[in-house]
């Protein structure tokens, strides 16, 4: 079992090496990417039955600091996260090949290489058995994605990269590191344990403060006011925005938040403390405020980015309600939002590739030229809003039941309001695409290259499939709240 864990970590890193070695032959290089992605998913999937059966494969590599090992342990939430990330990497690789070739991007070897490294770091985050290991891979993920964000090397890319780096490294070094150190100092361990490790060791007020250090220190979760890096990172090529900033990086953030709340603070130990009451409010504010910004954004990728900020806050909100049902919703939303948002980004990238358009106001009638793309976009949008028959409905349902169960009426109101707002910024796009007449004098274009269309069709199908067959993620999420 631990061999599987090791393979999941080593495989993408080795893949990065292979990509680098095969840099001169694009076809072989891209075959290596696909093979690595496929292999990684197979490895991760092979761990699934055991985890579902209650096993927790472990792997201890060595002692990083005295008393703090570099160790991995597969638990349900990490399993879910790893499954989503590795599965979508395959689709994303197909999409990347189409996108990078069609747009004639430079430095493709570097691109694929760091992509694989990012996935390695993501696997490390997913399987980390303690906070130190998680912190290590968290920072590695920031550094591995930095070259992807600044891929174009233009002044805008550099400026965006700077914001990206400063906020992510800054928050993690200033706040998260401090929080980890305080945890170590108080609890004497950094291991993730069911029920939490801090229980009873710190006072109520200190718990609130520590939670703040964690929540804002995990800048990848993009809770306002540390969300600025996400729109800034949109200078990256679209496949990067799609996988990393809809799946790997941001999900690493909310994943860490959920994990910290469940395994460090402990749900029972923290529930009812008045000092942590502020978190749902902050998350709720982020949901609404980000939606409002998205409403006003004309650049499609920017609109998607703020939508991501808002959707991430859903997960944080759900986790902060500290009810079992809402935690299930949080875990499900990690998966549901991933497939939905990646579809939307794929569509945005396809529009850019085929029609060279980036603004929402330019999209009149584009659905007639690119029906597949815009249909997928519509599915993704429905999922964001949380309508059946899409995955977003399932997770939102659980979050809403959690909010109702804990009688957190602010949360209920926020969710209701944001649903309206989501509809307000997504449906006009769909409406424009299908029901407005295209402006005259346009150059003719059809769909984007086949790999891209195939990729976005797959993710759109997944979005719908997760609605009907949510059993695997649901089982994993249930295990999270009812540990053995």
């Amino acid at each position: 079992m631990s061999a599987g864990v090791a393979a999941a970590l080593v495989l993408p890193a080795a893949g990065a090496g292979a990509i680098l070695a095969l840099g001169r032959w694009p076809n072989a290089r891209e075959a290596a990417t696909l093979a690595t992605a496929g292999g990684l998913f197979a490895v991760v999937a092979s761990l699934l039955p055991a985890v579902l059966a209650g096993a927790r494969p472990e792997l201890v590599v060595l002692e990083m600091l005295p008393g703090i090992p570099l160790a991995f342990r597969v638990e349900p939430l990490g399993m879910l996260f790893a499954l989503v990330a590795s599965g979508l990497w395959i689709v994303n690789s197909i999409y990347s090949i189409g996108y990078m070739r069609a747009n004639g991007e430079a430095h493709q070897t570097r691109f694929y290489c760091f992509f694989a490294l990012s996935l390695a770091a993501t696997m490390g985050i997913a399987f980390a058995a303690n906070l130190a290991t998680l912190f290590l891979f968290y920072e590695l993920l920031t550094l591995a994605t930095y070259p992807l964000v600044t891929h174009h090397g233009t002044p805008e890319a550099r400026a965006g990269g700077r914001v990206y780096l400063w906020i992510l490294l800054g928050t993690s070094i200033m706040l998260l590191l401090l929080a980890v150190a305080v945890t170590w100092f108080q609890a004497g361990t950094l291991e993730f344990r069911a029920g939490g490790i801090l229980g009873g060791r710190v006072g109520s007020a200190a718990t609130g403060g520590l939670l703040a250090l964690y929540v804002f220190g995990i800048g990848k979760a993009a809770l306002m006011p540390v969300h600025r890096w996400l729109p800034a990172a949109m200078v990256a090529p679209t496949p990067v925005s799609a996988l990393l900033h809809a799946v790997a990086v941001v999900k690493a953030g909310v994943f860490t938040v959920v994990k910290v709340i469940v395994y460090v603070f402990g749900v029972e130990a923290t529930a009812g403390l008045r000092s942590v009451d502020w978190l749902p409010t902050v998350a709720g504010f982020t949901i609404v405020a980000a939606s409002v910004v998205a409403l006003a954004a004309d650049n499609l990728k920017r609109r998607l980015a703020y939508s991501t900020v808002s959707q991430l806050a859903y997960v944080v909100l759900a986790a902060s309600l500290l009810a079992p049902v809402s935690l299930v919703g949080a875990a499900l939303h990690i998966a549901a939002h991933a497939v939905g948002k990646i579809t939307l980004f794929f569509a945005a990238g396809a529009i850019y590739t085929a029609a060279h358009k980036t603004l929402v106001s330019e999209l009149d009638g584009i659905g007639r030229r690119m029906p597949w793309t815009m249909a997928a976009f519509a599915v993704g949008a429905l999922s964001m809003i949380g309508l059946p028959p899409t995955a977003g409905f399932v997770s939102k349902w659980f979050i809403l039941s959690g909010a109702a169960a804990t009688q957190h009426w602010v949360a209920v109101t926020v969710i209701a309001a944001s649903t309206l707002l989501n509809a307000g910024y997504f449906l006009p796009v769909v409406y424009r695409a299908f029901f407005r007449a295209p402006p005259g004098g346009e150059h003719a274009h059809g769909e984007a290259p086949l790999p891209m269309v195939a990729a976005l069709a797959i993710t759109a199908a997944l979005t719908v499939a997760l609605f009907f067959h949510a059993d695997v993620p649901l089982a994993l999420a249930r295990q999270l709240v009812a540990p053995h």
Partner: protein, 482 residues
């Protein structure tokens, strides 16, 4: 014991030989240091009476957990820098002076080892001067004429510092009638803090701080590091200031005792303030440097602030952080200066404005520099993270979240200057002057990567260094390793 002293004797006599001997000697010195460290671990404090005069009358060499650690660092850096620095020396030092250069390098190494090993306060001064005089010469051998001025500045400052140290030692001697460190410590305990003791402490502290370039006594360092031949910079940056930090630790903790230094005088507060200033101001200055070597030099001043910060916190994690940072920073900076030297040789400049697009031309060198930069920032999985972790813990143990946040905050400044290099090398348009530049000689590259590999290794598996540093810290604080 003769076996223990043998490498040192070799060192002292190897003056006229060239690179081969210098390389051999530095490797031997590493081996000797490792052997000593192993014995110290096994047997506790080692003592060797020079010329068979029994201490406290004769000169005693005394090795415990602390200086064993420093010896290993000096040996390691020498063993990497000297053998692999050969092409750099060939490029930067005129042929007829080269043998002198190696002689001086050996002398400097001998001096540094001597400082670390001796148990006699005056002997320490002599070794200090041996290493300093030879390093003045080494710096003056730089090609740029400003190297001469830098060396002269360093000579003036260094000699003032050394003379302050002699005054301090003299005052201690007048009071106690002995020069053996352990003996002084024993005799000082009895009468308590007399005025002369305090004066001695003041003179010694200022003198040593001049040598270790504690902000604001760092003025000599940036010029010296910038204009010296790159091998010299790599060697001195990695060792000289670190050994001075060791001297400070030795005088403060072993001779005066933490009790006097920390409880009866406002030393910790002063040092805390200066360390924090160093961490922020010097690093801040580094951000605005255009010259890569000078930027690294200012970063060294900032990193020295980490070490003194750990000392001023006066608890086990803090001292552990300080001592382990001696090693971590020594290894990191040694590697970075080697790479900077390689760039200087290949591209003919280390001006950041002219290094646009360098990463395409010298990918390995630049990658090494970037990883070294990560270690300066304190990214996990590099050596720098281990230090920072302990300093943060030390701040928490003092009960202050602010103290814990300071080392973290200063690494943000480090990001700023490291990223200036990253953006220049990786994202700027290729500078026309760099058209024909290729990855330079293999040797400095290999040497630098060995150090970088060590830096990464102790970042991931820090058990060995941290354990050694913790023993050293315990030895300093409680008199015996625990």
């Amino acid at each position: 014991m003769p076996l223990v002293a043998a490498p040192l004797v070799v060192l002292l006599r190897s003056g006229r030989a060239g690179w081969l001997i210098a390389a051999g000697v530095s490797v031997a010195s590493l081996a000797g240091a490792l052997a000593l460290a192993a014995r110290v671990r096994a047997e506790g404090v080692l003592s060797y009476a020079l010329g068979s005069w029994q201490p406290p009358y004769g000169i005693e060499y005394r090795i415990d957990a602390v200086n064993a650690f420093v010896l290993v660092l000096v040996g390691l850096v020498a063993a990497v820098v000297v053998p692999f620095g050969r092409p750099a020396v060939a490029a930067e030092v005129a042929a007829e002076r080269r043998y002198l250069f190696y002689a001086m390098l050996c002398l400097a190494l001998a001096g540094l080892n001597g400082i670390a090993i001796t148990g006699d306060a005056f002997n320490l001064f002599v070794f200090l001067e041996i290493s300093s005089l030879s390093s003045y010469v080494l710096i003056a051998l730089g090609r740029d004429r400003r190297a001469l001025v830098a060396s002269f500045q360093y000579l003036i400052m260094g000699t003032i510092g050394a003379t302050f140290i002699v005054i301090g030692v003299g005052l201690l001697y007048l009071q106690t009638g002995t020069l053996n460190m352990a003996d002084i410590a024993a005799r000082l305990e009895a009468p308590g803090a007399a005025r002369a003791t305090l004066a001695a402490l003041a003179f010694l502290t200022v003198g040593i701080c001049l040598k270790l370039a504690l902000f604001p006594l760092h003025m000599w360092l940036p010029n010296a590091y910038t204009y010296a031949p790159s091998v010299v910079t790599a060697f001195l940056a990695a060792t000289a200031t670190k050994v001075s930090v060791y001297v400070l630790l030795r005088f403060w903790f072993t001779i005066f005792g933490a009790n006097l230094v920390f409880e009866r005088l406002p030393m910790p507060d002063i040092f805390l303030a200066l360390s924090v200033l160093a961490m922020f101001v010097a690093s801040g200055i580094a951000v605005y440097q255009r010259n890569l070597k000078r930027m690294l030099a200012y970063s060294s001043v900032g990193q020295i602030g980490y070490m003194t910060l750990g000392i001023s916190l006066d608890n086990v994690p803090g001292l552990t952080g300080s001592v382990v940072h001696l090693f971590n920073h020594g290894v990191t900076k040694g590697a970075m200066f080697l790479f900077a030297g390689a760039i200087a040789m290949a591209a003919g400049t280390v001006d950041l404005d002219r290094l646009g697009g360098l990463a395409k031309r010298m990918p390995l060198t630049c990658a090494g520099l970037v990883i070294g930069g990560f270690s300066l920032i304190g990214v996990p999985a590099t050596a720098g993270f281990v230090t920072k972790w302990y300093l943060v813990l030390a701040g928490l143990e003092k009960g202050s979240l602010l103290l814990a946040a300071l080392p973290a905050a200063s690494s943000l400044v480090a990001i700023a200057y490291v990223w200036r290099f990253v953006e220049a090398a990786y994202m700027r348009e290729a500078h026309p002057d760099l058209a024909g530049v290729k990855e330079g000689f293999a040797a400095p590259l290999v040497g630098g990567w060995i150090l970088i590999a060590i830096c990464l290794y102790v970042g991931i598996d820090s058990t060995w260094t941290v354990e050694a540093a913790r023993r050293a810290a315990a030895q300093l604080l409680f008199g015996a390793p625990q």
